[in-house]
Amino acid sequence: MTRTILEVVNLKKYYRQRAGILSTLRWRERFIPAVDGVSFYLKEHETLGLVGESGCGKTTIGRTILRLTPATSGRIVFDGHDITAMPAGELRPLRSRMQMIFQDLDAALNPRMRVRDLLKEAITTHHRLGDAEVARRTGELLEQVNLKKSKLSSLPGELSGGEKRRVGIARTLAVGARFIVADEPTSALDVSIQAQVVNLLRDLQRQLGLSYLFISHDLEVVQLVSHKVAVMYLGKIVEVGLADRIAGAGRHPYTRILWSALVEKKGAEPSRRRPAMSRGAWGVFDFEQPVHGCRFAPRCPVYEAQGRPAVCTDAATEPELRDLGGGHHVACHFPLG
């Protein structure tokens, strides 16, 4: 049985809305619930896909798990350690095992350092090594991410998109990553290069037993790469389950809409099996009338079809993630057939 490497319990992250002097005087305090009670677990060798529109909180989850921003509440257990509020000093050794790939290709690469030094710095971050050892480790890394040796002396500015991404991945491996949060790893790349990076990530998972939290709005890539997929909407997970079941037979109306939008863009007629969901007007999370109960209700076609049942918008009966069998959870009172 593979070990659970990451467990997140009821994670919450609220941002205070800056309104100038007033908010600092705590006079009119407003909080944006970027992540509002999210729980999931991730096993070794596995990839959990996280999808949702921009602003649904998927990136915030990744950053909170890696302690880039403090969590408001909830528990994060990594490799058996509760790191939610672990002091930085104690956390540092653990940091080498949990890494991140940033959407911005240049994020991890100091534009004034050569690739050789970038890798050397990553290798020697957590343990002192002699030059010979560093050279060997560097060669090994180059092979793992299939980068040419000639690239060692070039500056990040001279690398192509694909090469920058590979150096970024090499740095995470150099530090000894076991779990990687991949935040939109392919969206900044061209189609042909995306394919190379996707294959690389899957090879590394097979060879090194890495586990990924794969955050993306590119549904096809997520479905291809992930074992399980969680769909997020406005800070909450509305559905989680096996990748093919989520893509093929999503039970939550929002999941259906997401995947039907993909089909529509391809021009193929939406197949009978997946009725195209009509899309409500894209309302936006609005402070004036905070939504009680299910957050998707204002845009949910099923809510309209069911004649706006009160259960959906009643704060008390906010839909929780229910197990529909086979590890497939949905947070909806009227899951689709």
Partner: protein
């Protein structure tokens, strides 16, 4: 007619071209001129310290009042007391050189520390730093110095401490701005996730790699400001007093002769001020064009 030529593939420079090779001719000219001025100031400072001067700057010779340049062996002529202008110009660098370095050191060190703290830590520290910057910027430097002179009757070093402190906000905001720019590209978070300790991130990555050129540029422009302040003060009769020479009090001393048509005693030090400050400004801007604009983006 703008011409673009492609050199043959063979002779193309190595993959990475250092900023100096691809710098514009104008930038290189500015830096060249600036370096000449810096060397001139250094040399005249050393000459002044060891007193290797053509004439004794304070030797008065009544026979040669306001002599034009080139007369009787005085390359740049003599002033209203017959003292050799060239020697006095050289010695006058003493007035601002060391005190100037003190001022620049203070503004760079304190400014970098404040800027790095505010930029990296953010939150309350940043609000405090911004408040301090705005507060110090509220005073015109010269008025603040006059206030201190009125109250404490101090020498040039105390004044330069004030110049140093009033220089902190500019440096702090430059450093904090650069950190905000790096943060925007998630650069600091990436280093943090990698497990690099905070001091490595701040000292090596942020300050050494990204802020060093910025601080060098700020130092050169800062020296220009120091010279302006020192000469203005000695012109107003504060700071260095007669008979010790400063470019400011030399201009002031030659004033009434200026209106009688003898321009040179007042103009020589003024030109010295002009070319020196111009040198430091051009050096700063040239370096900025070469080092900052190209790779800083």
């Amino acid at each position: 007619m703008k011409r673009y030529t492609q050199i043959t593939d063979a002779s193309r420079p190595a993959s990475d071209v250092s900023p100096w090779k691809s710098a514009g001719t104008l930038d290189l000219a500015c830096v060249g001129y600036g370096l000449i001025v810096v060397v001139a100031v250094l040399v005249s400072y050393v000459l002044g310290v060891f007193a290797w001067l053509p004439y004794d700057p304070e030797h008065i010779s009544f026979g040669l009042l306001n002599a034009p340049p080139g007369s009787a062996g005085h390359l740049l002529g003599t002033d209203f007391l017959g003292r050799d202008i060239l020697s006095r110009l050289i010695v006058a660098t003493q007035a601002y050189f060391l005190p100037g370095l003190v001022a620049i050191a203070i503004s760079l060190v304190a400014g970098t520390a404040l800027g790095a703290l505010a930029g990296y830590r953010g939150g309350g520290v940043e609000v405090l730093a911004t408040y301090f910057n705005n507060l110090v910027d509220s005073f015109p430097r010269l008025v603040l110095i006059l206030l201190v002179i009125a109250v404490f009757r101090v020498d040039i070093y105390y004044i330069m401490i004030i110049v140093g402190v009033t220089g902190v906000p500019v440096v702090a905001s430059l450093v904090a701005g650069k950190i905000a720019f790096l943060r925007q590209k998630h650069f600091i978070e990436a280093a943090h996730v990698l497990g690099l300790p905070a001091h490595v991130i701040v000292l090596k990555h942020i300050l050494w790699y990204h802020c060093a050129p910025l601080l060098v540029i700020r130092a050169t422009i800062g020296m220009g400001e120091v010279i302006l302040i020192e000469t203005s003060l000695s012109y107003l009769g504060f700071g260095v007093q007669e008979p010790t020479p400063s470019w400011g009090n030399m201009v002031q001393a030659g004033a009434n002769y200026f209106f009688q048509g003898k321009f040179w005693p007042s103009t020589a030090p003024a030109l010295a001020i002009l070319f020196t400050i111009l040198g430091f400004h051009l050096l700063g801007d040239g370096l900025n064009g070469i080092l900052e604009d190209r790779s800083g983006k």
